[in-house]
Amino acid sequence: MAVLTDRPPVAAKPARRRRARRSLVSRVLGYATLIFFGLVFLYPFVIQLGNSFKTEPDAAANPLSPIPDPLTLAGFERIFAGTNFPLWLGNSLLVTVLVTVGRVFFDSLAGYALARLRFRGRSWLFAMVVAVMAVPPVVLLIPKFLVLNQLGIYNSYSGLIVPLLADAAGVFIMKQFFESIPVSVEEAARIDGASVFRTFWSVVLPMAKPALITLTILSFQGSWNEFPHSLVAVQDPDLFTLPRGLADLVSGSLGKGSQYPLKLGAALLATIPVAIIFVVFQRYFVRDANDGSDKG
C-alpha cells in the first residue's frame, strides 16, 4: 500500500506491472498443473514398467517405487514359459491384421459409394450407417453370441474375425473424406474410359492417403484392444486374443495369488504395440479426436 501511494498516480504503470506479475504467477501455476497431471497420467505406466521387473515381495513392499531391487526377469520368463502368452500374441496379430485390412478395404469401398455413386437407396443406407453407429457395443454381447452360434461359427477364427471386418464409423470417416476430394479428377478418369472400380482404386484411393492412414490406425488400435467381442465369440483357450488372455490371467483360473510382476509385464507387452503406433502416428490420433478429415 505504501509503495503504491509513493508512486505518482499513473494508472497504467502499476496495472501493467500487476499484469506482468500475474502472468508470471499464472505461468508458474500452469507448469505446476501440467507437471502434476503429467505425473498423474504417466506415473501409473512407470509403476507398471518398474514393477514388472521386480520380485513379488519387492512389488508388494514397494509398489510406488519405479526402481526394481533386485531387478529380475522372472516375471517375463514365466509369461512366456508358464502362460499361453505366445499363443495369444499370435492370435491377436492374426485378428488385428485381417480386421485392419478388411476394414480399410470394405469401409473405403462403401464410403466411396455413399459419397459419389448414385444408386437407389443410397440416402436410406447412409441413414442406416449413422443409426448403426449409435448402437452401443455392450448391448450386442448376447445378440452376437446368438448369431455366431446359429451360423455355426461360434468358437472359431471366423467368428472372431468376420464380424469385425467392417464398421459403421469407418464408413462414415471415408465418406466424409471422399466428399472433400474434387469431383473433377474422377470425371477426367471416367472420360478416359476407366471403370468405376478402376477410378476408385487407381485415382481416388491414392488421394485418400491421410484418411486411409487414420482408418488403419483406428482399426489396428480397435481390434488389438477388442475385448467384449472375443468374450462372446470364442470359448476355447487356443483362440484367445491378448486382451482375453490377460483378462483370464487376472480373473480366471490363472488368477491365483497376486503374481503382480507377471500380470503387469503381460499387460505391458500388450500395450507396447499401440504405444509405438501412438508415438509414431500421434497426429492422426489427435486429428481423429479433433476434427477428422475436415483438414484433409
Binding site: A113, L140, F227, N290
Partner: protein, 373 residues
Amino acid sequence: MATEAPAARVVVRGGAPRRRGRGTRSSENLAGWLFVAPVVAILGLFLLLPILMALWVSLTDWNGQGSPFTRNVPFVGVENYTRLFAEDGLARRDLMTSLRNNIYYVGIVVPAQTILALGLALVVNNRMLKGKGFFRSAFYFPSVTSSVAISVVFLFLFANSGAVNKLLSLFGVAGPQWFADSRGVLHLLLGALGVDDPPAALTGGGPFGLSWWEWLSGPSVAMVSIITLVVWTTSGTFMLMFLAALQNVPVTLDEASTLDGAGRWQRLRYVTLPMIRPTMFLVVTLGLIGSWQVFDQVYVMSQGDPAKTTLTPAYLSYRTAFREFDYGSGAAISFVLFLIIIVLTLIQRRVMADRDPVARRRGRWRRRVPEGS
C-alpha cells in the same frame, strides 16, 4: 465445350460420366450396391439381425442348449421383462442394484471427467506455456490403450498393499481394502456424521424392492476405484474435444475482455464457456452415453463384487446369460440398457441437429470417439 461434351460421351462406353444415359445409371446403380455389399452384409448379419434374434430370445426361456429358434424352446412372452420390474425377486433386486450402482457411477464419472478434461484443455491451451504438445499426448495416451491392460495396472495400484494405499499412508491415511469394501460412500459419510444405524423410515420400504437406505448408499469403495480408472482413461479424449473448441475462440475476444478488466474467472465464465457450449454439451452427452456401457473394467477388476456393488446392467446381462445360462433374462436386461442409451443418444442428436450445419457435422463426427466402456 458444352456442345462437344455430349458427342464425346457417346463414343466412350462403360466409363461414361454418370448421370447421363439410362445404361450408365443402371451400371452405376449396380456398382454402388456392389461397393456397399460387404459392409451391408457384415453389419446386417452381425449387427441388425442379431438384435432381432435377441429380441426374440428375450421373450423365451432359452437355456443355451441347441438353437433358440425351434419349437422346443418355451415362449414366455414379456415375462422376462415383468420379472425385472414388477415381481419382487432376485431378478428385480439385481437389476435395481445394478441401476443404482450405474446411476452413482454416471453421477460421478460424467461431472468429474468433464471438469478434468476442461481444466486440462484450458491449461494446455495456454499460449504462454511451452512443451504443451508433450503434455497433451501424455494426457491422451491412456485413452488409446487397452481397457483390459489398464485395468490390470489399476488392480495393482488399488491392491491392499498397492501404490494408492502406499501413497495415502505417506499422508497418514490408512487406505481401505478397495476391492473387498462394499460399503457405500454416502453411508460412510453419514457414519462419520454419527448416523451409524439407518433411520427406520428408510429401511422399511422403497421403490422396486430396494429400501431407501439401499438406494441412498452412494457408490461403494470398490466402485470408487473403477470410477477413478475410468475418469483417468477418458478425460484425455474429452480434453482434445475441448481443446479444439478453445482454439476456435478468437484470441481478440479474450484480449478485449482482459482490457475491459475481466478477471480470470469472469473471462472463463462469461466469455470462454458460452463460446464452447456446444462442445460442453457434446462432452456431457457422450459421457452419459459412454458411462452406461461400462463393462470391461468391471469384468477384469471386480466381476460385480463385492456384494454386487460394482454390478452394472451391462455386466449383469452378461452374467445372467453366460454364467447362469438364463439367456432370456440376459437379453431382456440388454434391451433395458439399450433403451436407456438410445434415449440419451436421441436427445443428443436432437439438440446437436438444432445447431448450425457445421456443428452438426462435427457432432456426428466426434460421436465415434472411444466411449467410456
